[in-house]
């Protein structure tokens, strides 16, 4: 039997808890969680809360966002590496994506530490990151 992973992940966000899967065989973290370890393929994994700490390396914004997120445009979409290891991309609060000039300036300040938080976007609870300082 496969345990429910996606529903548990999204349901936990309601309480502000962000889950990943840690591998009991190799110790690596998989984020967001899936049904096997992304590093070694083992099914011997456990859902655990992440620290929420990470680093943002780059960000920008598109003039043609998906229609689901058009109401938030322009928004900073950034490349984050979690303290636990995995890379993830999502919205980053605290970075200016309003003009190409601001994006150019903003990226010169990176990398910067970020902290994960749960926000509501397009009717769903999702994980975003906020500049820590």
């Amino acid at each position: 039997m496969v345990q429910k992973v996606a529903k548990r992940f999204y349901d936990s966000l309601v309480a502000g808890t962000i889950l990943a899967a840690q591998c009991n065989d190799c110790g690596n973290w998989t984020f967001p969680p899936v049904t096997a370890c992304r590093e070694c393929g083992s099914r011997n994994i456990e859902m655990k809360e992440i620290s929420g700490e990470g680093t943002v390396y780059f960000y920008s914004t598109s003039i043609l966002p998906p229609k689901k997120f058009a109401e938030y445009s322009p928004y900073a979409y950034g490349l984050i590496e979690l303290k636990e290891g995995p890379a993830f991309m999502t919205m980053v609060e605290g970075l200016d994506a309003s003009t190409p000039e601001k994006i150019a300036e903003g990226n010169k300040r990176l990398p910067l530490p970020v902290k994960a938080e749960v926000i509501e976007r397009a009717g769903m609870n999702v994980v975003c990151f906020r500049i820590s300082e």
Binding site: P32, S60, P66, F69, Y77, A87, T90, P100, V126
Partner: protein, 420 residues
């Protein structure tokens, strides 16, 4: 180096828009496929009777309005009662088809395999097979994005232009210490090559070169045109002209056993290596130019062929975003690390340069018909290797060539070709 199978016929339609491109106007998805397949069959001197199996590659059923492509197409292709199937790896589809066909042929079960691919992205038949409705680009990308991680990534504020264009471009500039201004000039030079190639390719979507586009907007200096409001940022620092153009089109090729290839074509192109690798999104980490999937597919295709990147006389890489014309040739070992941007500045990647790249105009100039695009690139490689590329013929003899493609979400396919 062992020959696994050989390509003895290729075909490709004009890439454009069936709503208004004269060569394509009013043709259906089925007719685009027939046009490409018949050109390949004629090229190989084959009829439907000679084809032992056919594989139809296509990605978006939302716009083709077709499932079971093989059953619907068999009579349009003269292939009734033959083994047929539909397959897809998104925008690498037909490159994957080379390996599939080679394995079929090598096994001896199906000796002559027709691989044909088509995509109609600009319009769809609106409950009437000969009456089409234009596709809204927002809808097109909504359907296309079904190909990227739908469990998590898409719903986390997904932004394709940033992930595929902007961040790899910033990563490349950072890796080699290029200022934003310098990187923009590099991308301008890549685009100059794209447009020179497409302007010399009668089957390309964009037929005017960059100088001509600039002149039409009253710019004497094409660099000033590049930097103007005519070419806004799609996602900073990636400009609109560095991104793909979606189009309609079809392509085809025929694979046979190497010992029988000369029966069908005097200059067979041998398939000596191939490999595929997949990764979920994102396919890179904090170094956005370090792509494990492509390192894997190139390394294994080279190993199978017994060659290295230094042995390549010609390379075609996936370029839905033109930054890939810099990142991928370095991963492929066609260039040393940090050499590709300088080569682009010096015009070395043009068809008449010493390191020719993507000579049919890539996915901006020639246009991007998702699953069919790799077939049009195989068409270009085969034509170049045979010496049939006309005005954009690579000057040097091409003994060994490689084709790389990405399939959305992310799939990496590499095929190595050798001239007899």
């Amino acid at each position: 180096m062992e020959t696994n199978a050989s390509i003895v016929g290729v075909g490709c339609t004009k890439f454009g828009n069936v709503l208004d491109t004269p060569e394509l106007q009013d043709k259906t998805f089925h007719e685009l496929i027939a046009e490409a397949a018949f050109e390949a069959m004629d090229d190989a001197g084959m009829t439907g009777k000679d084809i032992d199996a056919f594989y139809v590659g296509s990605m978006l059923s939302h716009t083709s309005r077709v499932y079971s492509h093989h059953t619907q197409l068999c009579d349009w292709l003269g292939l009734q009662l033959k083994p047929g199937l539909h397959f897809a790896t998104a925008c690498s589809t037909m490159n994957t088809g080379i390996g599939l066909a080679a394995m079929s042929s090598l096994s001896g079960k199906y000796k002559n395999v027709l691989v044909v691919g088509a995509e109609t992205l600009m319009s769809y038949p609106d409950d009437n097979p000969v009456k089409r409705k234009a596709v809204d680009p927002v809808d097109l990308w909504y359907w296309t994005d079904f190909g990227v991680d739908q469990m998590y990534a898409y719903h986390h504020c997904y932004d394709i232009a940033t992930a595929y264009g902007a961040i790899p471009t910033m990563g490349y500039a950072k890796k080699y210490g290029l200022s934003d201004e310098k990187m923009d000039e590099v991308m301008y030079n890549v685009h100059k090559a794209v447009r020179r190639h497409s302007s010399l390719n009668p089957k390309a979507f964009v037929t005017e070169d960059l100088q001509e586009s600039a002149r039409l907007k009253d710019f004497r200096d094409p660099l000033k045109f590049w930097q103007s409001h005519n070419n806004p940022y799609f996602a900073y620092p990636t400009r609109l002209l560095s991104a793909l153009n979606t189009v309609d089109g079809a392509a085809a090729f025929i694979v046979t056993r190497p010992e029988e290839a000369k029966k069908y074509h005097e200059q067979p192109i041998d398939i000596v290596g191939f490999h595929w690798a997949v990764s979920n999104y994102p396919w890179y980490g904090k170094d956005p130019t370090d792509w494990a999937i492509d390192k894997t597919s190139f390394a294994n295709a080279y190993k199978m062929a017994g060659v290295t990147g230094k042995d390549l006389d010609y390379l075609y890489v996936h370029d839905c975003m033109q930054i890939y014309q810099l990142i991928l040739p370095e991963i492929a070992g066609y260039f040393e690390e940090g050499e590709a941007w300088q080569a682009a500045m010096e015009g070395r990647i043009m068809f008449d340069g010493d390191k020719p790249l993507n000579t049919s105009g890539g996915r901006h100039g020639k246009g991007h018909a998702f699953g069919a695009s790799p077939g049009s690139e195989t068409y270009e490689i085969v034509k170049q290797m045979r010496g049939e590329a006309d005005k954009r013929q690579v000057k040097k003899e091409i003994e060994i060539a490689a084709q790389h493609n990405h399939g959305y979400g992310m799939h990496s396919a590499v095929t190595i070709f050798k001239k007899r």
